[in-house]
């Protein structure tokens, strides 16, 4: 999957960077993404539901991405970048409590699972040069997120409690993703820039698979998963 996404990025970027007015740009970004992770659900098992009460929390994980595109100058000192990007984060941890029978008196287990998001987007950035060195910018993107929820486990509250025998399965969800950000790049050499920025990213939805033990197909999901990211960037501008 990852190779396929990178190939798509390269092919999409090729006609852009080959356009005469554009200078090719390649940017590698790395930083931290803090996600708001929360999920709650009632799921039926036999005659009774269990409720899964997610812990509404932020989880910060590393984020890594690659942008390939082109930059052109317009007006005086303004620049516009457009291209494609691929980003992925280390897995976010979601956890909460299982109320068996949806009854708080039977708060017998905690649950955990992981969410990893991979995004392929069309990215754009507009910057303004100061003193020919500083390039404050705003950015935005829109694309597709492939959010994988996996590794569901339950942990007993006491030694007398036992997890369900067949956990919820792994599942990947494709969602619309978009972002908006701002930051600043600085020239290091004629062709190399370092930058730092912030961006808000809506990752879309992430859902676990079902377990054969349940009644129906409802499952635990995190809707409108979003992150606040702080990124460092290094760019090559041809």
């Amino acid at each position: 999957m990852q190779k396929r996404i990178l190939l798509t990025c390269f092919l999409a970027a090729f006609p852009i960077v080959s356009f005469a007015a554009f200078h090719p740009v390649v940017t590698v970004s790395s930083g931290f993404a803090s996600a708001n992770v929360y999920s709650s659900k009632w799921i039926m098992f036999g005659s009774y539901p269990n409720s899964y009460i997610g812990s509404n929390h932020y989880d910060a994980e590393t984020d890594l991405g690659l942008f390939v595109g082109g930059e052109t100058v317009f007006l005086q000192n303004w620049a516009w970048q457009i291209g494609v990007s691929y980003f992925e984060n280390s897995a976010f941890n979601e956890n909460g409590n299982v109320y068996q029978f949806a009854d708080p008196a039977f708060n017998n287990l905690t649950y955990q699972y992981q969410i990893q998001s991979r995004r392929a987007s069309i990215d754009t950035k507009i910057s303004h040069a100061f003193r020919e060195v500083w390039h404050p910018y705003v950015s935005a993107s829109v694309g597709a997120a492939f959010n994988r929820a996996y590794a569901y486990t339950e942990t007993p509250i006491t030694s007398a409690d036992v997890p369900m025998t067949q956990p919820f399965g792994n599942h990947a969800t494709r969602s619309l993703t978009y972002s908006a950000g701002l930051g600043v790049d600085v020239n290091i050499t004629e062709h190399v820039r370092l930058g730092a920025g912030y961006r808000f990213v809506d990752l879309g939805n992430a859902s676990l698979g079902v377990t054969p033990l349940q009644t129906g197909t409802s499952t635990i999901s995190s809707t409108h998963l979003h992150t606040n990211e702080l990124l460092l960037q290094i760019s090559y501008v041809g």
């Binding site: 098992f45 036999g46 005659s47 009774y48 269990n50 068996q100 029978f101 708080p104 008196a105 039977f106 708060n107 017998n108 509250i157 006491t158 030694s159 007398a160 409690d161 036992v162 997890p163 369900m164 025998t165 067949q166 033990l213 349940q214």
Partner: protein, 538 residues
């Protein structure tokens, strides 16, 4: 169990029903051991299972969900562990028996020790095909440590091997009419016939000291095994029967102290010393809590004093004798000899205690032990201590002449056959007599629990209690009983505390079968007589 001893009103009723101690956490099922496999830290000795032996564990399971459950099953049993059926009245015929809120039953597990490594974990039981599951608390989960085989084939190597006995049902399928009160009768258990063959280890020849020594060790191991199960004192014949919530029309909490199904509700007499609310040696963790004892049925399993001795001799050897205290002691089962004492026997048949019979499971337990350390002569129609019939009383009350050759605090000279009641102790059981006792000997006490006179000033010769002589003393040696194992007792509450060097007995009263200090008060000052099974019965 004699009705007089049953009449004890235990002080300090159980504390009020406790709130759930787990807060918002409530196991779907409560799974607690009724019979544990041999414990790794068991003492005396550590009867770990040898690869090749069969292990047995019995667990009580309660539907604690407050809901009707479906698709209930055991899941993920450790390798080598299987559920086996048991026809006893309290065992699950199927796990559907647990579907209703509060329903409970016993499950019996067999452990095949041919597996490698130790057997540990579970048993886990689930509803809804494996969604909502529970298991015992960690301290109560299956744990069997295995040692390499083969299984020893010698008698000495199997003194504490009860694997074969534990595979046999304890409960007789024959209902003698007491199933709704005292529970099922004891099933006739058998010694292992092969691998190892233990049927060759017993004897009915008291001169065969090798075999009698083996039997003495084995019966104490058997009692130790059941002491460690932490049962209660109950009017039951077997250990795996609990008094139903409604016992033959009576709420079990209202059963009188002399009735079948009664269980002691004695809270700790010594909270300042022990701190445990219920059963003095409960750990306070896992299933050993006051909540478990009171609210989750644990206090409704147990046996009384004479059912304990008859259960244990059946468990250790398959030897059966009467479980009524007085009848076990040798008094006639028609009630006509309820006041008769060993030293008062004379040439009249009505004044002679009964003799044991191997063919009668309701006979007395073995022979009476004489003050000189010998046992009564049982040849001929009369049994007596001494020689040539000299052990019997002659003459007419109040001028009777009695040799008083039995170990007893009751002399025959003050016994009036025409008016036998209210006979008071007037002899002393000396340390020399005690030195002649052997492990497994059963000491019968005549004592009126309601008199409050456990100091030897009681007013009756009615047999009300039986204890087992261990031949061990309080101490810290390998063959001693550590003071921490000595249980309190309620008859002489200021005198039970163990002192190093005191003799140790095992009996069931107060909060169930336990090691106790052989105190003058209650025990030594109230001895009616002593019986010996080993070397005589089979």
């Amino acid at each position: 169990m004699n009705k007089y001893f049953q009449g004890i009103v235990w002080s300090l009723l159980a504390s009020s029903m406790c709130a759930n101690s787990w807060g918002g956490e409530t196991p779907i099922f409560l799974v607690a051991p009724n019979v544990r496999p041999p414990l790794p830290n068991a003492s005396p000795a550590a009867p770990l299972l040898v690869q090749g032996q069969l292990g047995t564990a019995i667990y009580q399971v309660i539907n604690n969900s407050t809901r009707v459950l479906s698709n209930i099953s055991l899941v993920g049993l450790p390798a080598g562990v299987t559920q086996v059926s048991n026809s006893g009245p309290d065992y699950c015929s199927a796990t559907t028996a647990l579907k209703n809120p509060g329903s409970l039953c016993l499950i019996q597990l067999q452990i095949n020790t041919s597996v490698s490594g130790n057997v540990s974990g579970g048993p886990k039981i689930c509803s809804d095909n494996g969604v909502r599951c529970s298991q015992p608390f960690s301290a109560d989960q299956l744990l069997v440590q295995l040692t390499p085989g083969p299984v020893p084939q010698t008698c000495v190597g199997n003194e504490s091997n009860f694997s074969y006995e534990l595979t046999q049902p304890f409960d007789s399928s024959v209902d003698n009419g007491s199933l709704l009160t005292w529970g099922p009768n004891r099933n006739q258990l058998l010694l292992s016939p092969s691998n190892p063959n233990l049927t060759i280890c017993t004897t009915t020849n008291p001169a065969n000291t090798t075999a009698t020594g083996w039997m003495q060790s084995r019966v104490i191991y058997a009692e130790d095994y059941w002491v460690k199960q932490k049962l209660n004192y109950c009017h039951h014949h077997v250990t795996d029967f609990y008094t139903p919530i409604n016992s033959n029309g009576t709420p079990r909490g209202s059963i009188g102290g002399s009735a079948g199904g009664y269980c002691s509700n004695a809270t700790s007499l010594y909270p300042s010393n022990y701190g445990q609310a219920i059963r003095w040696n409960y750990s306070g963790t896992g299933s050993e809590t006051s909540n478990s004892w009171v609210n989750y049925n644990r206090m409704w399993y147990g046996v009384d004093c004479s059912d304990f001795t008859s259960f244990v001799y059946n468990f250790a050897f398959g030897i059966q004798f009467n479980s009524d205290t007085g009848f076990q002691a040798g008094q006639a089962t028609d009630g006509s000899q309820s006041f008769l004492i060993p030293n008062a026997q004379d040439s009249t048949a009505a004044d002679q205690l009964q003799q044991f019979s191997n063919s009668n499971p309701n006979s007395p337990a073995g022979v009476l032990v004489c003050a000189d350390g010998t046992t009564e002569t049982t040849t001929g129609p009369k049994a007596y201590c001494g020689t040539g019939g000299s052990g019997l009383c002659t003459g007419t009350y109040p001028t009777r002449t009695c040799p008083n050759g039995y170990i007893s605090v009751f002399s025959g000279t003050k016994y009036d056959p025409a008016n036998p009641a209210f006979h008071q102790p007037d002899l002393t059981v000396t340390p020399a007599m005690l030195n002649n006792l052997l492990p497994g000997d059963m000491l019968y006490l005549a004592f009126s629990p309601g008199s409050g006179k456990g100091d030897g000033n009681n007013t009756t010769s009615i047999v009300t209690h039986v204890i087992t002589w261990t031949g061990k003393k309080v101490g810290y040696g390998s063959n001693d009983i550590n003071p921490s194992q000595i249980a309190p007792e309620s008859i002489c509450p200021n005198n039970w505390q163990p002192q190093v060097g005191d003799w140790v007995i095992i009996d069931s009263h107060y909060q169930g079968p336990d090691y106790r200090d052989f105190t003058p008060c209650f025990y030594q000052n109230n001895i009616w007589g002593v019986r010996r099974v080993i070397g005589y019965m089979q």
